[in-house]
C-alpha cells in the first residue's frame, strides 16, 4: 500500500548541511501499523512530508496505492489522512463546520459528511463539543477533532505525526484505541511517536531512524534479535549513546 523508495533530502541551514533523510526505503501493507521512531531531529517529520508530497525529495519517491507522490500528488493526498501535532483548527468555525469543510475538500457529499461525522463522533467521543467554536476546545478535544478531520474521507492510508503530543494519559488512550480500530479495518498506517510503550503495543513493525538514516527495521522480535534488548526504550537509549561515540554522518 505504501512503498518508500530511497527517499533523500538535505537541508542547508547556514553553513551546515543537514541530512534529514538519507536513502530511506520501507513498505507498509494494509492492516499494518508502521512505527517510525527516533529521537528528535531524526528526520521523521521530513519523511512524512515527502511521502505526502508536501516537500520535494532530492532523490527517491514515495508510492501510495500505486500513485507516486511526485507525479500525482493529488491522487496521493486523496488516499491519505494526515494528522500532525502541529495541525491547528479553525478557531472561528465549530467542529462540525470544520469537518464539513474538509469533507467538501475531499469531495464528499453533504449526506456522506453527515454520516461520517456521526460515526466518528461516536467513536472519538466528539459529541459534547462538536458544535462549539474550535477556539474554546482543550488540547485533547482539538487533537480528537484533528483525527476526525483526517478520517473524514475514510482514507486507506493514515500518516500520524505525534498524534498524542500534549495529551494526557486518557487522551492518548482514546487515540491509540482508535489506531487499533483502524488497523482492524485494514488501513495502512505510519505512526510517529515518542510514547514508546504505546507504540510497542499498537505497531506491527518498526523503523528506527537516527540522523536521517533508517538504522533498524522489523517487527519487535526482529529488533530484539538484532539488538539483544527487550524493549524499545532500551534500544532507543543504546541508539543515541552509541551514535554519540561514533557520529553517523556529519558533512
Amino acid at each position: 500500500m505504501i512503498s518508500i523508495h530511497n527517499l533523500s533530502k538535505t537541508f542547508y541551514a547556514g553553513r551546515r548541511e543537514i541530512r534529514a533523510a538519507d536513502d530511506v526505503s520501507f513498505e507498509v501493507a494494509p492492516g499494518e501499523v508502521f512505527g517510525l521512531l527516533g529521537p528528535n531531529g531524526a528526520g521523521k517529520t521530513t519523511m512524512m512530508r515527502m511521502i505526502l508530497g508536501l516537500l520535494k525529495p532530492d532523490q527517491g519517491y514515495a508510492e501510495i496505492a500505486g500513485h507516486r507522490s511526485d507525479r500525482q500528488p493529488d491522487e496521493v493526498k486523496r488516499q491519505v489522512g494526515f494528522v500532525s501535532a502541529a495541525a491547528g483548527v479553525y478557531q472561528w468555525l465549530t467542529g462540525r463546520e470544520m469537518l464539513g469543510f474538509f469533507g467538501e475538500i475531499y469531495g464528499l457529499s453533504e449526506s456522506d459528511v453527515d454520516l461520517r461525522v456521526k460515526e466518528l463522533s461516536s467513536i472519538l467521543d466528539l459529541a459534547d463539543f462538536i458544535d462549539q467554536g474550535c477556539a474554546t476546545l482543550s488540547t485533547g478535544q482539538k487533537q480528537r477533532l484533528s483525527l476526525a478531520r483526517a478520517l473524514i474521507h475514510d482514507p486507506p492510508v493514515m500518516i500520524l505525526d505525534e498524534p498524542t503530543l500534549g495529551l494526557d494519559v486518557i487522551g492518548s488512550q482514546v487515540i491509540f484505541n482508535y489506531i487499533d480500530i483502524l488497523r482492524e479495518r485494514e488501513k495502512s498506517i505510519i505512526l510517529c511517536t515518542h510514547r514508546l510503550e504505546q507504540a510497542q503495543r499498537v505497531c506491527n513493525r518498526f523503523g528506527l531512524m537516527h540522523r536521517g538514516r533508517k538504522v533498524l527495521t522489523g517487527s519487535l522480535e526482529d529488533l530484539q534479535k538484532q539488538t539483544g534488548r527487550s524493549d524499545l526504550v532500551e534500544m532507543f537509549i543504546d541508539l543515541i549513546e552509541n551514535s554519540n561515540v561514533a557520529p553517523v554522518q556529519q558533512v
Binding site: Y12, K56, H67, R78, G88, Y106, P156
Partner: protein, 782 residues
C-alpha cells in the same frame, strides 16, 4: 487508482457535478471565518463611523474657508472698519444713502436679468478670517461690529473715529478687520458725498473684498448719474446691450475650486476599502500558517488556485461591504454637514453613486488579489503586516497622482493600476466619462487582478513558505554550500529588483551631466555604457559568484553552433523594418483608443524628443555610438536577460513560459529606461525579447543573441545618424516618410529564413531542463 486497491467511495468524486458548487462552499467557509472575527467587523463598521465625521470637520475648518470665497459659494463675513472727518451718525447716514443707490442699481439689474444677484446672501456662515499680522492691538470685539447697511448683508461694520489710536489702518493691518474705508466729506452742499479710500491688505482675501466693495461703491456713481440724466430729461437707454451666454457643462466651477472634491472622494473611498480588506487578507493567508492549518490544507487534494479563489472571494466580499458602508458613511456625512452645497450636488446623483460603487468593487477585486499575493509570502501575521505597510504607502502615490488637476484618463494613465480607477471615478463624478479609455482601464485592472491571484496561488502554501528558515538577514545573504548550475531564481529576482533603482540613478546622473559640446556628449554616452555595464553585467556576475554559479553555465557563454550565428545575423539585419512598421501600427491603434487629437499630440512629442536625441547623437563620433548604443547594451542586456534571467526561469518553468516572462521583463525595462512616451517600444521590444529568448534557448548560448541585438541596435541608430546623407539618395525615404513596402517584405522574408533556421536546428543540450513538477521553491534553504 490501481486495481489492487480496495474501492474507496469517497476518493473518486473528482468529476462529480458538485464540483461546480464547491467553490461557493469553500468561499462560505472562508467568509464565516472572517466575519465571525470581531476584528474584521470592527474595522468594517467602526472606521466609517469615525473617519467621515472627523474628515468633514477638517474640511469645514481648513479647506472651505479658503475655497468658498473664490469658488463663488457661501462667503464668510467681512469685517469693515470705517472712519471719516465726520461723526458716526453722519457717516452712517452717508452709507445708508449709498446703500440705497446700490440697491436701486441692483434691482434694476435684477429686473433685467430676471434673477437676483447671488452675491448678497443674508445667510453668512460663522467663519471669520484670521489673516493679517494677527497682532491683537486693542479690544476690538467681534460683537462690536454692527449689522451694517442694507445691500451689504455679509459685511459687519465698525466706526473708528478719525483721531483714534490705534487707527483704522492699524486694525486692518493687524487683521482685526478685513477692510477699511476712509472718507472725507468736503462738499458742504452735500451734492457730492465725498472721497472714499478703500484700505486693504495685500492678502488675497482682503484684496478680493476691497475689489468687491470698490465695485459696489462705483454703482452709487452710476445710480447718481442715471438719476441726474433722467431729471434732465435725457434718455438712459444704453447704446449697447451686453448679454452673456454660458455653454457646455459647468466644468470650470468644480475644477477651479480650491479643492478637487471629485478627485478626493474616490481616494478616500479607495483607502477605506483597503483598510477593510487588509485584515481578512492577512488572516486567511499568513494566519492560516500561524495557526497550523496550512499544512493540513496543503495535505488535501485541492488545487491551490481553488483555495486562493475562495479566499479571494471572501476578502473581496469584506472589501465590498467596507466599500458600501463607507459610501453610505460618506453620503450621510456630506448630507449632515451640508457639504454638497459647497461643492455642487453632483455626488448625490443615484446613477453616480451606483457607478462609483461598481468601480469600488472593481478596485476591491484588484486590491484584494494584490493583498493576497503579498500576504501569501508571509509566514506570520507580523510579517504580513510588515509587507503591507509599504504597499499601502506606495499605493498612496498613484492616489495622489490621480488628484493632480492636469491628469486625464488616457495613454499610460489608463493602464497604471489604481491611477486608472481613481481617474475613472473622478470622471464619473464630473460626468466626463470617455468610453474607450474607461474600457481600457477596466480591462487592465481585471487583468492585473487575474495575475495577482495566479501569483498568490503559486506562492501560497509552497514548501518554501510552509517550511522555511528563520527569516534572518544572515539567512538571506547566506552563500549556498553547493555549486549551482544556474543562478537560483530568488537571487535573479534580487538582481532584477536592484536594477530598478540603479536604472533611475543612472538616468538621473546622466541627466545632470553637461551635454553641449561634442566632448561632453561623448563622455556622457560613454558613461551611459559604463552604467549599463555595471548594472547589467557586473552586478549579475557578482550575484552569480556569490551563489557559487559558474559564469559559463549560469550565463550561457559556451560557443554556439555556426547555424545559430548565421540565423542571428539574418535576424539582426532584417528585424528593424518590421519593428518600425509595428511602431507605426501602434500609433494607429493608439489613435483608435484615445482619439486622433491625442495621437497627434503624442506623435508630435515623440518626434520632438526623438529628433532632439538624434541631433545629439550626430554630434558624436560613430565609434562612440557603436559602443554606447550597439555593442555594450547588446552584450550587457543579453548577459542579464537571456543569460541570468532566462536560464534561472528555465530551471523552474516550462520553456515558453520562461521565454515569455523574460521577454516581458525585457520589454518593460525598455519602456522604463526611457520616458513614459516610449510606450510604443513595449510591444516590439517584447517580441524581440521572445525572439532572442528562443534563440538563446535553442543555441544554449547568449552569443547569437549578442550578435542579433547589436546588429539590430546598430542599424537603427546608424540609420538615424546618417539620415541626412542617406536621404540625398533617391531610393532612401525622407525623414517623415514611412519605410517602403518592399523593404518590409524583404525584412520579413529574411527574418522568416532566420527563424526557420533556428526552428529546425537541433537544440544544444546542456541548458537546464525544467523539472517535472514545477513549484516555486527555494528548497535549498531549510
Amino acid at each position: 487508482m490501481s486495481h489492487n486497491d480496495p474501492p474507496n467511495p469517497y476518493a473518486q468524486s473528482k468529476k462529480s457535478p458538485r464540483t461546480r458548487f464547491r467553490l461557493t462552499r469553500l468561499a462560505q467557509k472562508e467568509l464565516k471565518e472572517t466575519l465571525r472575527d470581531r476584528r474584521t467587523i470592527v474595522t468594517l463598521v467602526l472606521m466609517p463611523l469615525l473617519v467621515y465625521p472627523t474628515l468633514s470637520l477638517i474640511f469645514k475648518t481648513f479647506l472651505l474657508s479658503n475655497a468658498a470665497l473664490f469658488s463663488g459659494g457661501e462667503a464668510p463675513e467681512i469685517r469693515v472698519v470705517y472712519s471719516g472727518n465726520v461723526s458716526r451718525a453722519e457717516a452712517d447716514f452717508v452709507f445708508l444713502q449709498i446703500g440705497e443707490r446700490i440697491k436701486f442699481m441692483d434691482d434694476k439689474a435684477a429686473k433685467k436679468e430676471g434673477a437676483l444677484l447671488q452675491l448678497d446672501d443674508p445667510n453668512g456662515t460663522e467663519n471669520s478670517q484670521s489673516m493679517g499680522s494677527g497682532l491683537r492691538i486693542s479690544g476690538l470685539q467681534p460683537e462690536e461690529f454692527s449689522e451694517g447697511f442694507p445691500p451689504w448683508y455679509r459685511m459687519k461694520w465698525q466706526f473708528i473715529s478719525e483721531d483714534a489710536d490705534p487707527s483704522l489702518i492699524d486694525y486692518v493691518e493687524a487683521g482685526e478687520a478685513d477692510l477699511g474705508i476712509i472718507f472725507e466729506l468736503n462738499d458742504p452742499t452735500r451734492k457730492r458725498l465725498g472721497d472714499f479710500t478703500v484700505v486693504s491688505r495685500q492678502d488675497a482675501f482682503s484684496l478680493a473684498t476691497a475689489d468687491h466693495l470698490a465695485e459696489q461703491l462705483e454703482k452709487a456713481n452710476l445710480a447718481y448719474r442715471e438719476v441726474r440724466l433722467r431729471m434732465a430729461g435725457i434718455s438712459t437707454e444704453p447704446v449697447v446691450d451686453v448679454d452673456r451666454q454660458l455653454i457646455g457643462p459647468a466644468v470650470e466651477q468644480t475644477s477651479s475650486s480650491a479643492f478637487p472634491l471629485a478627485s478626493l472622494v474616490p481616494l478616500i473611498l479607495v483607502l477605506m476599502t483597503i483598510t477593510g480588506a487588509v485584515y481578512p487578507a492577512i488572516d486567511l493567508t499568513a494566519g492560516e500558517r500561524e495557526r497550523g492549518t496550512l499544512e493540513t490544507l496543503m495535505a488535501a487534494p485541492i488545487p491551490r488556485v481553488g483555495i486562493l479563489v475562495a479566499k479571494f472571494i471572501a476578502v473581496l466580499t469584506v472589501a465590498i461591504f467596507t466599500a458600501l458602508l463607507n459610501l453610505i458613511g460618506m453620503f450621510v456625512t456630506i448630507w449632515v454637514f451640508q457639504l454638497d452645497q459647497q461643492f455642487g450636488g453632483g455626488i448625490f446623483d443615484f446613477r453616480v453613486m451606483v457607478q462609483i460603487f461598481l468601480l469600488l468593487i472593481l478596485f476591491g477585486a484588484f486590491f484584494s488579489a494584490l493583498l493576497l499575493a503579498v500576504t501569501s509570502f508571509a509566514k506570520s501575521f507580523k510579517e504580513a503586516q510588515v509587507y503591507l505597510i509599504p504597499i499601502i504607502i506606495l499605493s498612496l502615490g498613484p492616489g495622489l497622482m490621480a488628484m493632480a488637476p492636469g491628469m486625464s484618463l488616457d495613454g499610460v494613465n489608463a493602464v497604471v493600476p489604481m491611477v486608472n480607477i481613481l481617474l475613472l471615478a473622478r470622471d464619473v463624478i464630473n460626468n466626463e466619462v470617455i468610453l474607450v479609455p474607461s474600457f481600457v482601464a477596466v480591462i487592465s485592472t481585471l487583468l492585473y487582478t487575474y495575475f495577482a491571484i495566479c501569483l498568490a496561488a503559486r506562492i501560497f502554501g509552497s514548501d518554501s513558505i510552509l517550511y522555511s528558515g528563520d527569516g534572518s538577514l544572515a539567512e538571506m545573504f547566506q552563500r549556498p554550500m553547493r555549486a549551482n548550475v544556474v543562478v537560483p531564481l530568488m537571487a535573479t529576482l534580487f538582481c532584477l529588483v536592484m536594477l530598478f533603482p540603479l536604472n533611475f540613478l543612472s538616468i538621473g546622473f546622466l541627466g545632470r551631466m553637461p551635454a553641449e559640446t561634442t566632448a561632453e556628449l561623448s563622455l556622457r554616452y560613454l558613461m551611459m555604457g559604463v552604467f549599463t555595464f555595471l548594472a547589467f553585467m557586473v552586478l549579475p556576475a557578482l550575484v552569480a559568484r556569490h551563489q557559487h554559479t559558474p559564469l559559463m553555465s549560469g550565463f550561457g557563454l559556451r560557443r554556439p553552433r555556426v547555424v545559430f550565428l548565421l540565423a542571428a545575423v539574418l535576424l539582426g539585419i532584417s528585424l528593424w523594418p518590421l519593428v518600425m512598421t509595428m511602431t507605426e501600427g501602434w500609433h494607429v491603434v493608439y489613435g483608435f483608443l484615445f482619439g486622433s487629437e491625442k495621437q497627434d499630440q503624442w506623435h508630435a512629442k515623440l518626434i520632438e524628443t526623438t529628433s532632439e536625441q538624434v541631433a545629439r547623437i550626430r554630434m558624436v563620433s560613430p565609434l562612440v555610438i557603436v559602443f554606447a548604443f550597439s555593442v555594450i547594451p547588446a552584450f550587457c542586456e543579453e548577459w542579464f536577460f537571456r543569460g541570468m534571467l532566462l536560464r534561472s526561469l528555465l530551471k523552474w518553468n516550462s520553456v515558453w513560459k520562461s521565454i515569455l516572462i523574460s521577454a516581458m521583463v525585457f520589454g518593460s525595462f525598455h519602456v522604463l529606461s526611457n520616458s513614459v512616451i516610449a510606450l510604443d517600444r513595449l510591444l516590439p521590444s517584447t517580441l524581440i525579447g521572445v525572439m532572442l529568448g528562443y534563440l538563446a534557448y535553442k543555441s544554449d548560448s547568449i552569443w547569437p543573441g549578442v550578435i542579433l541585438h547589436s546588429l539590430n541596435n546598430g542599424i537603427v541608430v546608424f540609420l538615424a545618424y546618417y539620415q541626412p546623407t542617406l536621404s540625398s539618395y533617391a531610393w532612401f525615404p525622407g525623414e517623415e516618410e514611412s519605410i517602403p513596402r518592399l523593404w518590409v517584405v524583404a525584412g520579413f522574408v529574411v527574418a522568416a529564413t532566420g527563424i526557420i533556421l533556428v526552428r529546425y536546428s537541433m537544440r544544444a543540450s546542456a541548458l537546464p531542463e525544467n523539472s517535472s513538477n514545477a513549484t516555486l521553491t527555494n528548497g535549498d534553504v531549510l
